[in-house]
Amino acid sequence: MEGGDSMIDLCSYAVSVGEKSGADEIEAVWVKDVSMRIEAELGEISKAAMTRNEGVRIQVIKDKAVSSVFTYQMDKGSLKKAVEKALAAAAASKKDEHWDSLPYPGKYPHVKVWDSAMADASSEDLMEPVAEMLRLVPDDISVFLALNEVYLREKACVNSNGIEHEDRGTLDVVGMAAVGRLEDGVTPAFEKVFFMREYTPDPQKIAEPIIDEINLFKRRETASSGRSQVIISPQALEALLHFTLFTSVSGENVIRGKSLLAGKEGEKVASSQFTLHDNGIIPQGTASREMDDEGVPRQDTCLIEEGILHGFIWNNYWAKRTGVSSTGNAYYDDQTDELSIRETTMVVTPGDYTKEELLNVKDGYYVLSFQGAHGSNPESGDFSVVCTPAYRIRNGEIAGGVVGMMLSDNVFSLLQKIDAVGCDVKVGELSILPCIRFTDVNVVTK
């Protein structure tokens, strides 16, 4: 940065350049992500990495045509060039008759997601939890990945409508993935990953369940085709819902006729045991911040309350086009350069059932993870996924691991078939979910 200019100062500079150069509206969003990662493979710590990804995205609107430029060069000269380039791109783009305006200032929530202990953690501090996880694992289990990665994320947003805000957050991702050795190969991969906004890594909490799960899996069982009770873990549920239900609550998909939930507000779309919020301010959530990627305040949005559909998630554009307010769900994907609507943290209200009570079925399955959830049909809600790892349950006990079992069903009918909701929740990358038991699910085997 030049001469002690802050992120806000330089964003303001870019906005003032745009206004003087003829932009009707302009927004500058500065993103700085610094991470430190310790990684182990083949049972040994193999690498230590520091990544600094810092840049500014400048969006301009000229005659209702929108364009943006992302630059990694953050001196004033480069920002000026980026603004000029964005204006030239807008001149070449198409007018969007539906364009209304960039967002206006809102009241930002206070979200405690910055942990000084994490920000101050050294590479040595990060090393020990990984080494400890490796020490806890017996010889018949191979760790193919263990990691401890700390992210420090800062963001500033300034636009020509008066938004001028910055926020920051820390995140620790610590986890392990391993396979058990078998006489004829290996078990599927078992993994446990903790996403934490405060630095409290606990290697035992990661390694011990993996060891137990692998040992349980080694007792071989079989699955059989037919309708069955299935208990789905939070990790598996997150993958399935991310590629089906969560896309259906996007305001854009609702308006464009791409969601089966369109027009169903007030209707029963799930079991009365199912309550779902998109919560962008819950302190444990990985996406919790004060603002989204357009400078709109994050919030807690009720989507489904006891099975009744209440609403959808929105960014600025689709909210204004529809005549509602943005829910603070604008998301800029640095990898694909797309600005879209995305869930923050999807939170399902926990129920009353302990894990033992959930598993207390005469005959059923317990699924830890799905293979192929991303191949689901997000529009129809149809999914056809491999359950791996998964267990057979007989008389309330885990009888052993099953291989080659699929579930083929539809997410909207699945949500009506909720039998019991767990009382414990797991913080995932995109969600905070309990374990859920479903009835009458279509199980497929050879």
Binding site: I45, T51, A86, F144, E338, T388, M406
Partner: protein, 458 residues
């Protein structure tokens, strides 16, 4: 550029690193997101930065940032590796390779960065209109065009000094259809790292629109597929993703050692007629002359006549396994260190005619196109299918709705009983932690009942 990178190399050597690698890039990208006649994203980016990787006392250290900071980044990488190295018992070593000094150029007829935004948008306008006109039941069209152009530089402490011109064009479609309250969708992704914007002279909007329209209509009109295992014929694109997921990933040496294929080199893993290859075939998506460790990209025969014969390696895993390097170490961009990645993975052709492949199947399925796939270390594979048909009495019959197919590769590859004569490839991206352009393909392949499980609901 090389001069400043050499400063980083000198810093690393001075710090005591065994190996220092500095990668820099300056790549200009365009992304146009387009939906139902509207440009919803037009983004230009110049991705510029530097990645510094060192091997210090047998442990990797990595730091990335801006080129002006190259010396401090190398120091940071050394200090990170130094902290980590006491935790390692077995020190990482690298396979020796020939250091190259080279500069590679792209031969684009129409470099994508020289094509105006107007022309790129006009192409999307035309494509959207053609798809919308294909059938009244098409309700939403989402398109995405991306291109890139620039240079990647690599300098190492062993004398490698390579500048590679890089570039690509890619077109993605997602189309939604609706009839009687039923929604469905289909996807398509095509692109080239060999041709520029001229790629779309042969991959015309008309061709894409017809393909997309057909897929959506087939989905709307499709029957509910049965569940269970049936004899089947997999089409070129599905065979490609099968090669990628069923064994391709498990032939990446960093994954092989923890997979069901560990210890199987030299052993029979498939029917006698199966040969599977990963190779940087000129013109295929993801191929370049050198990988991101400066190793020449070379062909690997993964399965030869049913026997497991080769792994994809980087320099670390080549040394660890005693296998040759093959140029498979690729990094998404300067923000990541290189990983072992596939390039173009395919089943080689066989000697069955298409008629022979379908002959004698009383009931089964013909799977033409896919929607994603995923591998597991126990060799379980899954492929989402978006275009498929029933086979009855040896003939292709009614379309079916989308589903997934799955199997266990250590069993399924032995149940291949017929391989067609014509090879075709498809392009896409693989997401093994980082995004990499890959292609895959093969001829039509027939499986016996028991090889593939169909996750249907009928």
């Amino acid at each position: 550029m090389f001069e400043i990178m050499e400063k980083g190399i000198a810093t690393g050597v001075q710090q005591g690193a065994q190996y220092v690698e500095v990668r820099a890039e300056n790549v200009q990208t365009t992304m146009i997101g387009y939906s139902d006649g509207r440009v919803d994203n037009l983004n230009a980016k110049v991705r510029s930065g530097v990645a510094c990787r060192v091997l210090y006392n047998g442990t990797w250290g990595f730091a990335c940032g801006t080129i002006d900071d190259v010396e401090s980044l190398v120091k940071k990488a050394c200090s990170l590796a130094q902290t980590a190295s006491p935790y390692r018992k077995e020190k990482i070593q690298l396979q020796e390779v020939e250091p190259y000094q080279d500069e590679t150029k792209k031969q684009f007829k129409t470099p994508p960065h020289e094509v105006s935004f107007e022309e790129k948008i006009s192409r999307l306008d035309n494509l959207c209109t053609l798809i919308q006109k294909y059938d009244a039941r098409i309700k939403a069209v989402s398109l995405k065009y991306t291109d890139s152009h620039g240079f990647k530089y690599l300098v190492t402490s062993e004398g490698t000094r390579i500048a590679q011109e890089t570039g690509s064009v890619y077109n993605y479609c997602w189309v939604t259809g609706k009839e009687n309250g039923v929604l469905t969708a289909a996807r398509d992704g095509i692109g080239s790292t060999e041709q520029g914007f001229e790629y779309f002279e042969t991959e015309t909007e008309q061709k894409i629109a017809e393909r997309m329209g057909r897929r959506v209509v087939l989905q709307l009109e499709g029957k509910t597929p049965k569940k269970g295992s049936f004899p089947c014929v997999l089409g070129h694109r599905v065979v490609g993703v099968l090669a990628h997921e069923a064994l391709g990933h498990l032939a990446e040496a960093d994954l092989t050692l923890n997979s069901s294929f560990n210890g199987k080199l030299g052993k029979k893993v498939a029917s006698d007629n199966v040969t599977m290859v990963d190779a940087p075939i000129k013109g295929t998506f993801g191929a370049s002359k050198y990988d991101d460790e400066g190793v020449l990209m070379q062909r690997v025969d993964i399965i030869k006549e049913g026997v497991f014969t080769g792994l994809l390696t980087d320099r670390e895993y080549a040394h660890r396994t005693g296998l040759p390097v093959c140029g498979s170490a690729r990094a998404e961009n300067f923000l990541h260190p290189p990983l072992i990645r596939m390039r173009n993975t395919f089943f080689d052709k066989g000697d069955h005619s298409n008629e022979e492949l379908f002959e004698g199947i009383d009931f089964g399925y013909y799977c033409v196109d896919f929607r994603g796939g995923e591998a597991q270390l126990n060799s379980s594979f899954q492929i989402g299918i978006q275009e498929a048909f029933e086979i009855r009495n040896g003939e292709i019959q009614d379309p079916i709705k989308d589903l997934s197919i799955s199997g266990i590769a250590t069993e399924a590859l032995f149940l291949i009983e017929g391989i067609g004569k014509e090879l075709e490839f498809e392009e896409g991206f693989c997401g093994k932690g980082q995004r990499a352009a890959v292609s895959s393909g093969g001829p039509l392949v027939r499986f016996k009942e028991g090889g593939i499980l169909f996750g249907g609901r009928g």
